[in-house]
C-alpha cells in the first residue's frame, strides 16, 4: 500500500541497510534492513531485547553501527548515504527522536523546553514569538498545548506532545518514537495515534517502536518485525493480522528441555484473591488478579514487561499493599502485613533488579548474604550481631550454591551477574528452608531470575528452581522468555494490562497462543 497523500513526496524517507551492532556479549542488530517511506507510519515490532531500540538509537545518532549503511531520501525519490555521528547530526538530517522517558526540564515552560538546545537562537530570546510558533504547530496538528505552562503541571500525555513539538520545531521530517504509548492511558494513546496520522498525512515519515500488537494493527501502515536482532519480515499491515504478527514476533523455536519429573502439587500455599493495585501514578496496575500457587508447583507468569509483573511480585512478598483484595500465605491472611511478616512465613523473593533491590553493591558479600538472617540467632544475639557467625553463614552459602567470589569480604558489586544471582538465590532458598524448619510451607517468588546471565549460570538457576519445586516449595516464576516458562512451569498465567488473560499448561498451549494472550486476547 503506497500512500498517495497530498504531500507530493515520493519514495523513501530513510533506508537502513545491513545494520550490525554488537555490545559486549550481545549481538543487538545482525544485518538489519529497514525502509521507511514518506507519509507512512511504520511500526518496528519485536519482543524486549529484539534490537528495536538499538536500531533506532543508530538512526538517531546515539550509537554508531559496526557495519551497514544509512541512507536518507529527498522529496523526489533520491537517496544519499549519510553518517550520523550525534543526535544533533540526526536533527540536521531531519531525524527527530521522541524517547520513552521524556527529556524535559520540569520547572521550565513548554516554549523554553522546545527551544532548549536549538542552535542559532538569538542571544536575546523572543519567547513570545517561540510560543506563537509552538502554538501554531500545535493547532495545525490539533494537539492542544499551552506554550507558557511549566512542564511539571502537564500530564504525561501532554509532556509527550511537547517532546513531539520539540522534534517538529527543530525541523524533523522523520520522526522516531520509542514505545510512545507505554506510559499513556488508553485515551492519551488514541490521541497520540491521531497526531501521528496527521503528521503522516503531511508527508512526514513516522517510525514507532512497539511490542503491542493491537496498536501496531491499529495505527501503522507497514510493519517490520525483529526477533533476536534479525529481520523477520516487513509487510503491509493490511496484508496481515495479529495472529500472524504474534507468530513472527515470538518465533517458534523448539525449546530445549531439561528433565523435569511430573509435578506433585500439594495444597495451595500462596493465594491472591481479587488483588487490585494502583501504581505510583494512580493507574490500575493489577486489576482483580486471582492466582493460586500450590506446594511443589511452579506457576509461570508470562507477559510483556510492564503489564503488572512488578506490582504482582511486590504484592506477593509484602513490599506493596494491595488497594483491594487479599494475599493469603499458607492459609493465613497476610494482606497489609510487613515484608518481615511475609519472610517469617516463608515467602522468599529473588527480585528482578539485582543491584537495585537484591543487593547493596558496596557492602561486603557477607552483609548481603545475611540480609534475611541477621535478625535471628545465631547471627543475632539480642541487639548485637556476631560478625564471625555472619561470615561463617556467608561461607556456607558461598560453598553450597557455588558462588564464585574471592571471599565474604568482597563487595557484592565486584561479582559477575551470574554469581550475584547465585548469591541471592542461595540466600533466599536458605531463608525459605529456615521457615520450613519452623513449620511453614516455603514460597519462592523469582522475578526474571535468568535475565542477563550466561548459559552456565542460567542452567544453575533453573536447576535450583526445580530442586525447590521437588522439595515442595511453591514457586512463582516471572519471566519474559516463553521458552523458559514452557520448560519450567507446571502452569502458566498470562498477564496483560494488569489482568490475568488465562492460565494454561505448557503441554496444552503453544507459543502462538501465549503470544496472543500477551497481546491482550483472553484465553478461550
Amino acid at each position: 500500500m503506497s500512500r498517495t497523500g497530498s504531500h507530493g513526496r515520493r519514495g523513501l524517507a530513510v533506508a537502513l541497510r545491513g545494520i550490525t551492532k554488537s555490545f559486549p556479549g550481545v549481538l543487538a542488530n545482525d544485518h538489519v534492513d529497514l525502509e521507511v517511506r514518506w507519509g507512512e507510519i511504520h511500526a518496528l515490532l519485536g519482543e524486549n531485547g529484539a534490537g528495536k531500540s538499538t536500531l533506532m538509537s543508530i538512526l538517531s545518532g546515539l550509537y554508531q553501527p559496526d557495519e551497514g549503511e544509512i541512507l536518507v531520501g529527498d522529496d523526489e525519490g533520491g537517496l544519499r548515504p549519510v553518517t550520523i555521528t550525534s543526535p544533533r547530526a540526526a536533527i540536521h538530517l531531519g531525524i527527530g527522536m521522541v524517547h520513552q522517558h521524556f527529556k524535559l526540564v520540569p520547572t521550565q515552560t513548554v516554549a523554553e523546553n522546545v527551544i532548549l538546545g536549538v542552535e542559532d537562537m538569538p542571544f536575546v530570546l523572543d519567547l513570545d514569538a517561540v510560543a506563537r510558533d509552538v502554538a501554531e504547530i500545535a493547532d495545525r496538528l490539533r494537539m492542544p498545548v499551552d506554550p507558557t505552562a511549566p512542564i511539571w503541571q502537564l500530564s504525561v500525555g501532554e509532556q509527550q506532545r511537547v517532546e513531539i513539538l520539540k522534534a517538529l520545531y527543530r525541523g524533523a521530517e522523520i520522526l522516531v518514537l520509542d514505545e510512545p504509548t507505554a506510559v499513556l492511558t488508553p485515551q492519551e494513546a488514541d490521541e497520540v495515534a491521531a497526531i501521528l496520522r496527521s503528521l503522516a498525512a503531511e508527508g512526514k515519515a513516522i517510525v514507532f517502536i512497539s511490542h503491542k500488537l493491537d496498536e501496531v494493527v491499529e495505527i501503522a501502515d507497514r510493519v517490520t518485525v525483529l526477533r533476536k536482532g534479525r529481520n523477520v519480515a516487513t509487510m503491509d499491515v493490511a496484508d496481515t493480522d495479529k495472529h500472524r504478527l504474534a507468530e513472527l514476533m515470538v518465533g517458534r523455536e523448539v525449546a530445549t528441555t531439561i528433565p523435569k519429573p511430573p509435578a506433585e502439587p500439594g495444597p495451595t500455599v500462596l493465594a491472591l484473591e481479587g488483588v487490585v493495585v494502583r501504581n505510583e501514578r494512580g493507574l490500575v496496575a493489577l486489576d482483580h488478579v486471582d492466582l493460586e500457587v500450590a506446594a511443589g508447583e511452579i506457576l509461570g507468569i508470562a507477559g510483556v514487561a510492564g503489564n503488572g509483573q512488578r506490582e504482582l511480585t511486590e504484592v506477593a512478598t509484602g513490599l506493596r499493599r494491595p488497594d483491594a483484595g487479599r494475599v493469603v500465605v499458607d492459609g493465613k491472611d497476610l494482606t497489609g502485613a510487613s515484608p518481615v511478616a511475609f519472610l517469617d512465613r516463608g515467602v522468599a523473593h529473588v527480585p528482578a533488579d539485582r543491584l537495585g533491590r537484591g543487593l547493596a553493591g558496596n557492602l561486603p558479600l557477607a552483609d548481603n548474604l545475611a540480609m534475611r538472617a541477621y535478625r535471628h540467632p545465631p547471627i543475632a544475639v539480642g541487639p548485637a550481631i556476631r560478625r564471625d557467625r555472619m561470615r561463617a553463614f556467608a561461607e556456607t552459602i558461598i560453598e553450597r550454591f557455588r558462588v564464585d567470589a574471592p571471599g565474604p569480604d568482597t563487595p557484592a558489586r565486584n561479582l559477575s551477574g551470574g554469581n550475584q544471582q547465585k548469591a541471592i538465590l542461595g540466600r533466599e532458598i536458605t531463608a525459605g528452608s529456615w521457615a520450613a524448619a519452623r513449620g511453614h510451607r516455603p514460597v519462592l517468588v523469582a522475578a526474571y531470575p535468568t535475565r542477563g546471565l550466561d548459559v552456565g549460570a542460567i542452567e544453575h538457576v533453573r536447576a535450583r528452581l526445580l530442586e525447590q519445586r521437588a522439595a515442595g516449595t511453591a514457586v512463582l516464576l516471572v519471566s519474559e522468555e516463553l521458552d523458559e516458562l514452557l520448560m519450567m512451569s507446571d502452569r502458566i498465567a498470562v498477564l496483560h494490562g494488569g489482568r490475568i488473560m488465562g492460565v494454561v499448561t505448557p503441554e496444552e498451549t503453544t507459543i502462538e497462543e501465549l503470544g496472543l494472550m500477551m497481546a491482550g486476547e483472553a484465553h478461550r
Binding site: L319, S338, P339, V340, L343, H349, P351, D353, L355, G356, R357, G358, L359, A360, G361, N362, L363, D367, A370, M371, R372, Y374, R375, A380, P383, A384, I385, R386, R387, P406, T410, N414
Partner: protein, 377 residues
C-alpha cells in the same frame, strides 16, 4: 600533534588494602604542600611556618623536658568536641542522612546542661550536690537536648520526606539565636557587670580536669567512639544503618523500617552532638556564654568525612585538625600571619582528601600511544 602518551583513569576492581591509608595521607601531604605555596605568597617562610604550627600544637622537646605540656593539652582540649561532633555526623552520614545541624544540636545540649547546673540545685535541693550525681545528670540532659533538637528534622523526614539538609541547617540558627538570647537576657548573670553570660555553674557541676585544661571529657569522647564503633560493626542497628545508606530499596526489601532507622540515627547523632555541648560548658566555660557555637558542629563534618565515617579514624583526624587550629593560632602570634590560616588548612585538607578519594577507587593509567612512523620522516 598529539602527546606521545595518554593519561586515563581505570577502575580498581579490588582496591589493595594499603590504598585505604596511603591515599588520605598523600592527600594531606599534597594539601600541606599547596599550603606552603600560599604561605610563601603571604611573604613568610613555609618551613618556618610549619615548624611553628608543630610547636604551637604539640610544644617543643625543650618544653617537654621541663614538664611543660601546655601546647599539646590545648590541642587535646580542642579535640574533645571535634571527636563528639565528628561521631555525631558520621552516624547520620552512614545512612546518608545529611545532618548539617550538629552545631545547633551541640548548642541545645549546652543549654540543657546550663539549665541543670544553674536552676536544678534551687528547684530540687534534695538532689545531692556532688559531681557524682550532677555530672551524669548534666550529661543525660545534654544528650536529651541534642537528641530532641535532632528529632525535629528526623520526624519531618520520616513522616513527610522534608529535605533534612534544609531543616538541619535552619535549626542551627534557631538554636544559636535562642542560646544567645538566654545568656544575654533571662539567664544573664545579675552580678556579671554587664558581661554577657550566665552566672557561673556551681563547682560540683564542673568536669574535673586531668591535666592542663583537659577534662574527663576526653575519656567521655573516647568512650563514645568505642560505642559508635560497636554500634556500627556489631549491632543490628548498625547493620541496618549501613544497609539503608548503601541501598534504601534493598533495606526495604530486607524488612528494615526506614522511619524507625531515621529516628534512631538522629537520636544517636543529636545525642552525641549534645554531649559536645556538655564537655564545652561543664568542662571549659563553666557557664553559658559566647564561644559555644564556634563551628565545632561544622568542623565535625570535615572530621567525619576525612575519616571516612570510621570511629577510630575520627579520633585521629579530630586530633590532627585541632592541632592545625591550635598551631595556626600560634602563627598569628609568632609570625603575624592571619589566624584563619588554620581554617584555610582545614578547607585545603578536605578538598584534597575528597578529591584524592578518586585514586582509591581508580588507578591512574598512563598508556603510550602506538608509535606512528611518519611518511615524511
Amino acid at each position: 600533534m598529539t602527546a606521545p602518551f595518554r593519561i586515563g583513569l581505570e577502575k580498581r576492581l579490588d582496591p589493595p588494602p594499603y590504598v585505604r591509608w596511603l591515599v588520605p595521607i598523600l592527600s594531606i601531604l599534597v594539601a600541606l604542600g599547596f599550603g606552603a605555596v600560599v604561605i610563601g605568597l603571604a611573604g613568610a617562610d613555609p618551613i618556618e611556618a610549619y615548624l611553628q604550627i608543630l610547636a604551637g600544637a604539640f610544644g617543643s622537646p625543650a618544653a617537654w623536658l621541663d614538664g611543660e605540656f601546655y601546647a599539646v593539652s590545648e590541642t587535646i582540649v580542642r579535640t574533645i568536641p571535634l571527636i563528639l561532633t565528628g561521631l555525631a555526623v558520621a552516624v547520620a552520614f552512614r545512612m546518608r542522612f545529611w545532618n548539617i545541624g550538629a552545631e545547633g544540636q551541640l548548642v541545645v545540649g549546652g543549654v540543657f546542661v546550663a539549665w541543670v547546673a544553674l536552676f536544678l540545685p534551687e528547684l530540687l535541693p534534695g538532689i545531692p550536690q556532688t559531681p557524682w550525681v550532677y555530672l551524669p545528670l548534666m550529661a543525660v540532659a545534654a544528650i536529651l537536648g541534642g537528641a530532641l533538637w535532632a528529632l525535629v528534622p528526623a520526624v519531618l523526614k520520616a513522616a513527610l520526606e522534608v529535605d533534612e539538609i534544609i531543616t538541619t541547617i535552619m535549626l542551627n540558627f534557631v538554636a544559636i539565636l535562642t542560646y544567645q538570647y538566654l545568656f544575654t537576657g533571662p539567664w544573664k548573670d545579675p552580678e556579671g557587670q554587664g558581661f554577657p553570660g550566665s552566672a557561673p555553674f556551681p563547682e560540683f557541676a564542673w568536669l574535673p580536669r586531668i591535666g592542663g585544661r583537659v577534662t574527663l571529657g576526653l575519656f567521655l569522647a573516647l568512650a563514645a567512639a568505642v560505642v559508635v564503633w560497636l554500634v556500627f560493626d556489631h549491632t543490628k542497628l548498625g547493620y541496618e544503618i549501613a544497609l539503608t545508606g548503601e541501598n534504601p530499596e534493598a533495606a526495604r526489601y530486607a524488612g528494615v523500617r526506614r522511619a524507625g532507622i531515621i529516628l534512631a540515627v538522629m537520636l544517636l547523632s543529636g545525642g552525641l552532638a549534645g554531649l559536645a555541648g556538655f564537655t564545652e560548658t561543664a568542662g571549659i566555660s563553666h557557664r553559658l556564654q559566647q564561644g559555644l557555637a564556634i563551628g565545632n558542629g561544622f568542623t565535625g563534618i570535615i572530621v567525619a568525612w576525612v575519616a571516612k565515617l570510621r570511629p577510630g579514624w575520627i579520633v585521629l583526624v579530630a586530633f590532627l585538625l585541632s592541632a592545625l587550629f591550635v598551631g595556626g593560632d600560634q602563627l598569628q602570634i609568632s609570625m603575624g600571619l592571619p589566624a584563619s590560616i588554620g581554617a584555610f588548612f582545614q578547607g585545603m585538607i578536605l578538598l584534597f582528601v575528597l578529591g584524592g578519594d578518586v585514586f582509591s577507587r581508580y588507578r591512574l593509567r598512563i598508556a603510550r600511544r602506538a608509535h606512528v612512523i611518519s611518511a615524511e620522516g
